[in-house]
């Protein structure tokens, strides 16, 4: 599935902060007047939203880390790259609608890694 997000660089909004909360053992997204409890996957994706990598790059990294976490026998059950990218795009689109992620057309300057 082609998405407008494919060639852009998602970045966590300036007002938002990610935190792993040791007390609750949960990933949190901290916003003005609001705290969102995240699941592992959402937290992993948002951590990669640094404004320097594209959605395909984020997808590759997510898949790579899933592969390391998953036993070789279960690896076949992982969704393919295209499905994963579509899911991640959809999630990021929702995050953008909420104003928690900003989708940039260009990579954040300096220290460009991908």
């Amino acid at each position: 599935m082609e998405s407008i997000l494919t060639s852009s660089f998602p970045k966590l909004a300036a007002k938002a902060r990610l935190k792993f909360d040791k007390v609750r053992e949960k990933h949190l997204l901290l916003l003005p007047e609001r705290v969102v409890v995240l699941n592992e996957t959402a937290a992993a994706i948002l951590t990669l939203c640094d404004g320097r990598q594209t959605v395909p790059a984020i997808t590759e990294k997510m898949r790579a880390s899933l592969l390391t976490d998953t036993k070789a026998a279960d690896a076949g059950e992982l969704p393919d790259l295209t499905t994963m990218e579509a899911d991640i795009s959809k999630f990021l689109q929702e995050m953008e609608d909420q104003g928690w992620v900003v989708v940039q057309r260009h990579a954040t300057e300096n220290n460009q890694t991908s």
Binding site: K15, K19, V23, R24, E25, P32, E33
Partner: protein, 380 residues
């Protein structure tokens, strides 16, 4: 782990946020100020070391957001130190300010210390009315402060308390927020405690005013989409059901007052029948989980009728305890805003007077005082 927390503390979960009221001192004199009538004087304020300890204890307890407020928190010269400390503890520091004292240089220092969000209050959308309500020539300074926040690249929220004197000028307020590039605008209809209750006759709007304003709010919300988030805090005297205490009594948030007393909400300090513990004597953890005051209205065993047998009791928790206390003198009563409450006539009477507008001329506006009112004895 979730279960461990539950078992250990009898079902009480850790709090998410701390409202740190650093001082009651403020250059403004808003007649609806939610600070107590008996303002804490500077000499009784917690020291920097004490606030740092409170922040550390809050982080250990599970607090992840700190709202630095007052009074005017910028009057504390340790604000930067406290923001930095909260930031280092990985909590989200939010500044709630009148904007007075927030220069471009100050805001960049606070940002560097880790400040994440700034909420600036306005009294109205233009200078004359704004200055009259705040009892201080503040409007231009507030505008400059808001612009500095934007220039520093920080998220800007505006908060405007709505009442009889400014509700008819809501369009100007929304326009101001747009001009300043605010990301969020909170339209907070006055809640009647403390100074606001003292001035209720002058502040409570008529039903007609509310209806007109609500239409303006709804049109603006539709027009602005997600360019600016607009929040309408319902005028609870005109609501059909009472509002629950913010997330529940001792459920998600706590307030530390300038003198170190710890409250379930900013206005609870007025309840004379409860005594609130102080961080100078007890740990925040003890206060949250074990103190009498925090446990008093948790759950529903304390509820009187008609709440006890009402099917809405888990939704609204019997309404606001502070409101019950302020209007009936009994913090256990059903919130008089509720149509089923035995004291609902108190609300109906206030509304009738507001609709007729016949008390407006007879009572003068009482501005919030400068300093602690020495004539009133301390609450404990």
């Amino acid at each position: 782990m979730q279960q461990k927390i539950t078992k250990r503390h009898n079902g009480v979960q850790p709090p998410f946020s701390l409202l740190a009221e650093l001082t009651h001192r403020c250059p403004l004199h808003c007649p609806y100020c939610s600070n107590p009538l008996n303002l804490t004087s500077k000499a009784l304020e917690l020291t920097t070391e004490e606030w740092c300890r409170v922040l550390s204890e809050a982080a250990d307890l599970g607090v992840v957001e700190v709202h630095f407020s007052g009074g005017e928190p910028l009057l504390r010269d340790d604000l930067e130190v406290l923001i930095r400390h909260a930031h280092e503890l990985e909590m989200y520091p939010n500044l709630i300010t009148s904007g007075i004292g927030l220069s471009a240089e100050k805001i960049s220092r606070l940002k560097e210390a880790g400040l994440a969000n700034v909420q600036v209050s306005f009294q109205a959308g233009e200078a004359t009315l704004s200055n009259r309500i705040g009892g201080y020539k503040a409007f231009e300074k507030k505008r400059e402060a808001a612009m500095s926040v934007k220039k520093a690249g920080l998220h800007l929220s505006l908060n405007v308390v709505l009442h009889r004197m400014n509700l008819d000028h809501l369009d100007e307020i929304i326009q101001l927020a747009e001009e300043l590039g605010a990301e969020r605008l909170e339209l907070a209809n006055t809640q009647y405690y403390n100074w606001a209750l003292l001035n209720r006759e002058r502040l409570l709007p008529s039903m007609e005013q509310i209806e007109r304003a609500r239409e303006i709010y709804e049109a603006a919300k539709a027009r602005l989409g997600n360019r600016m988030e607009i929040i309408w805090v319902i005028p609870d005297y005109y609501a059909s059901s009472p509002k629950p205490c913010m997330g529940g009594w001792g459920a998600i948030a706590l307030t530390a007052a300038p003198d170190g007393s710890v409250l379930p909400c900013p206005t609870a300090g007025m309840m004379k029948e409860l005594s609130f513990e102080n961080v100078r004597e007890s740990s925040l953890k003890h206060i949250w989980y074990e103190s009498k005051s925090f446990n008093h209205f948790r759950g529903d065993a304390w509820m009187p009728e008609p709440c006890q047998s009402c099917k809405f009791r888990h939704e609204d928790g019997g309404g606001c305890r502070c409101q019950a206390y302020a209007l009936t003198g009994d913090a256990h009563a059903a919130d008089p805003v509720c149509q089923l409450a035995p004291d609902h006539h108190l609300i109906k009477m206030a509304i009738r007077e507001a609709d007729e507008g016949n008390t407006v001329k007879s009572s003068a506006l009482i501005y919030r005082g400068h300093h602690a009112r020495k004539t009133i004895a301390p609450s404990k």
